[in-house]
Amino acid sequence: MGWFRRLREGIQTATGNKKEAPEGLWYQCKACKETSTMKELKENFFKCPFCNYHVRISSKEYFGLIFDGNYETLFDNLRARDVLQFTDLKPYPQRIEETMKKTRLTEAMTVAKGKVNKRPLVIAAMDFNFIGGSMGAVVGEKISLSIDHCLAHRIPLLIISKSGGARMMEAAFSLMQMAKTAAKLTLLAKAGIPYFSLLTDPTTGGGTASYAMLGDINFAEPQALIGFAGPRVIRETIKRDLPEDFQTSEFLVEHGFLDFVVDRKELRERISDLLYLFDEKNRVLVADAEND
C-alpha cells in the first residue's frame, strides 16, 4: 500500500461525512512564502513541497497519517469546567465555547486507539488551535485515562505534544496536571509498557516539563520549537540574542534530550518500527521466556 493511498484513507476515515478541505485551495508556506495547492500539500504529508516546512496539523490529521485506517476515539465526553470562575478579558466558559465552535474540537487533546501495521497503539494528540494547546484538567485526565487503558490492555502509548504550556484559566489545577501525568506515567514504566513522546511545533512550558520529556523514546518533527521557557521570556531575561537554532528539535538532539528527529514522511514507518522492536513477543529475553 502506497503512502499516498493510506493517507487518503486515513483522512476519509477521520472525517467521515464531514466536509473535506476544498480542493484547489492555495496554501502559502509560513517559512518560504511559496504557494502550493492544498492537494499538493496533503500529498506531501502536510509539508511544504518547496522547503519541507512541517505545517502545524491537527490531532485528526496525525491519526490519519499514523493509523492503519480505522481508529476509535476515546474519552470524548470530557469538557473543561470553570472551577475558578476565571475571568480575564473574557469569562473562561465563553472562551471555551468560542474555541469549541471555532475549532470544532472539544479540548486541546484527542485520544484515539487504532493499529499501526496491525499492532495496537493509543495516541493522545494535542491541538494547538484549542487555547494554544494548553494543558488543563481535561488534558491531564485524558492522559491519565489513556494510561489506564494502556495498562489494562497492555498497549503502548504515544503522546503527540503541541502545547504552549499550562492553561492559566485553570491556574493551580493546571499546574498539578504536571504532577498527575508524571505520576501516572510511572505506572506504565513499572508495567513495562513503552511510552513514546513525539514533540511537535511548538512544545513549551508545563507540558514539556512533565509528560513530553518523560518518554521512553523522545522524538520530534524537524525544526519544532521545544523548550521550557519561551524564547521571548529568555531574551528579556538574559538581555541578549539567542543562537539561531536555539530550542529547535535539532538543538535538543545535540544537547541530549531527544532520541531523534523524524520527517513526517517517515513518521508512520518509524512508529511502526518502534512497535515492532518493543513488541513483547520480540523483546522478552529467551531465558526468561523459557522459565515461564
Binding site: T15, A183, F228
Partner: protein, 333 residues
C-alpha cells in the same frame, strides 16, 4: 523594619512610638502609659490589617525582604546540618540548597529553594530561581535519602525556574519532569511546604509529596500574578486582578484540595516572629513524619499517586462528540 504599602498605618504608628520614646529618654515626662497605649494600638492595627488580606497582599508578604528563607529554618529546626553540594554532572546550583538535618533525633534530607538575604546574596542565589542543576541536585539527595530510609522535607520558595540560555541547553524541562516522575515513586515519606513563593513548575519540581502544606501568607500557582497580567490582560497593570483570579492563596489551595493543610503564621507574618514560625513549621513536619511512618512504602506511593491522579475538575457530557475538525491545515490562526 520594612513596611509593605498596605502596612502604611503601622509605619506611622511606629514613627509616633519612636518620637515618644525619644521624649521619654530626655527624661522630662513619664511616657510609659503613652507607650503602652501605642503598643496596644499597633498590635490591634496589625491584627486588623492581617485579618483582611487580599490575594495580592499575601503575595507581597510572601516576598517580604525580611521573610525567613530555607537556611534560616534549617538552622532553627536542626542542631546539626551538613549541607551537600552539587548534582554530580555539571555544577552546584546556589538557588537550591540541601543536606542532612536532624529534627529532635530524626535525620531527614532537607531541601529547599534559597533566596539571598541582601543584594549581593540575591545575585549569588539567582533570586531563588534554579537551573536544571538545582533540580538534579535535589533529586540526587532524594535518592540518597531513599537509600538510607530518611524522610525528605522540601521547602518551596521560588519566583520560578530560571528562564536562561544554559538552563534550556541543560534541559530545564527534563530536569523538572524527571523530579516529578521520581518523586511520585520515592519509597520514603516526602513532606513539602511552601514557605514563600510557589511559582509554577519551578516550585513543583521539588513539590510532589505525601503531604504538601503552605504557610498562611504564601502563594502557589501556575504563574506569577505579574506574568499572568502581562499575558492575559496584555499589560503589567492588572496584577491585583490576576492575583484574585488565580486563587493562589493557601486558603484557596486548601479549599480546592490541591494542598493538604495550612500552617498558621504569627500575626504580622513569618518575618515578624521568625523563631515562632520555625517552631510551628517544625511541629507540623514532625507530626507529618509520624503519621507517614506508619504506612508501608507501597501504601504511601499508592496514596501519593492516587492523590495527584484525583487532581482536576472537569465535566462529563453524555453524548459523544461527533464533530470532526476540517482538513484545512491548522497552522496557527
Amino acid at each position: 523594619m520594612v513596611f509593605l504599602d498596605f502596612e502604611q498605618p503601622l509605619e506611622s504608628l511606629y514613627e509616633q512610638l519612636d518620637k515618644i520614646r525619644q521624649v521619654g529618654e530626655e527624661g522630662e515626662i513619664d511616657v510609659s502609659v503613652m507607650i503602652k497605649e501605642l503598643e496596644t494600638k499597633i498590635k490591634n492595627k496589625r491584627k486588623e490589617l492581617y485579618n483582611n488580606l487580599s490575594g495580592w497582599q499575601k503575595v507581597q508578604i510572601s516576598r517580604h525582604p525580611e521573610r525567613p528563607y530555607t537556611l534560616y529554618y534549617i538552622r532553627q529546626m536542626s542542631r546539626k546540618f551538613v549541607e551537600l553540594h552539587g548534582d554530580r554532572y555539571v555544577k552546584d546550583d546556589k538557588a537550591i540548597v540541601g543536606g542532612l538535618a536532624n529534627l529532635d533525633g530524626q535525620t531527614v534530607m532537607l531541601i529547599g529553594h534559597q533566596k539571598g538575604v541582601n543584594t549581593k546574596m540575591r545575585q549569588f542565589r539567582n533570586f531563588g530561581m534554579a537551573n536544571p542543576d538545582g533540580y538534579r541536585k535535589a533529586l540526587r539527595l532524594m535518592k540518597m535519602a531513599e537509600r538510607f530510609q530518611m524522610p525528605v522535607v522540601t521547602l518551596i520558595d521560588t519566583p520560578g525556574a530560571y528562564p536562561g540560555l544554559e538552563a534550556e541547553e541543560r534541559g530545564q524541562a527534563e530536569a523538572i519532569a524527571r523530579n516529578l516522575f521520581e518523586m511520585a515513586q520515592l519509597r520514603v515519606p516526602i513532606i513539602c511546604i511552601v514557605i514563600g513563593e510557589g511559582a509554577s513548575g519551578g516550585a513543583l519540581g521539588i513539590g510532589v509529596g505525601d503531604r504538601v502544606y503552605m504557610l498562611e501568607y504564601t502563594w502557589y500557582s501556575v504563574i506569577s500574578p505579574e506574568s499572568c497580567s502581562s499575558i492575559l490582560w496584555h499589560s503589567w497593570d492588572y496584577k491585583e486582578q490576576a492575583a484574585e483570579a488565580l486563587k493562589l492563596t493557601a486558603d484557596d489551595m486548601h479549599a480546592f484540595g490541591l494542598i493538604d493543610g495550612i500552617i498558621k503564621e504569627p500575626v504580622g507574618g513569618a518575618h515578624s516572629n521568625p523563631e515562632e514560625m520555625a517552631k510551628l513549621l517544625k511541629r507540623q513536619i514532625k507530626k507529618a513524619i509520624t503519621e507517614l511512618s506508619e504506612m508501608t512504602p507501597e501504601d504511601r506511593i499508592e496514596a501519593r499517586i492516587n492523590k495527584y491522579a484525583g487532581m482536576g475538575v472537569y465535566d462529563v457530557v453524555s453524548e459523544t462528540a461527533t464533530d470532526d475538525n476540517n482538513n484545512v491545515p491548522s497552522d496557527e490562526k
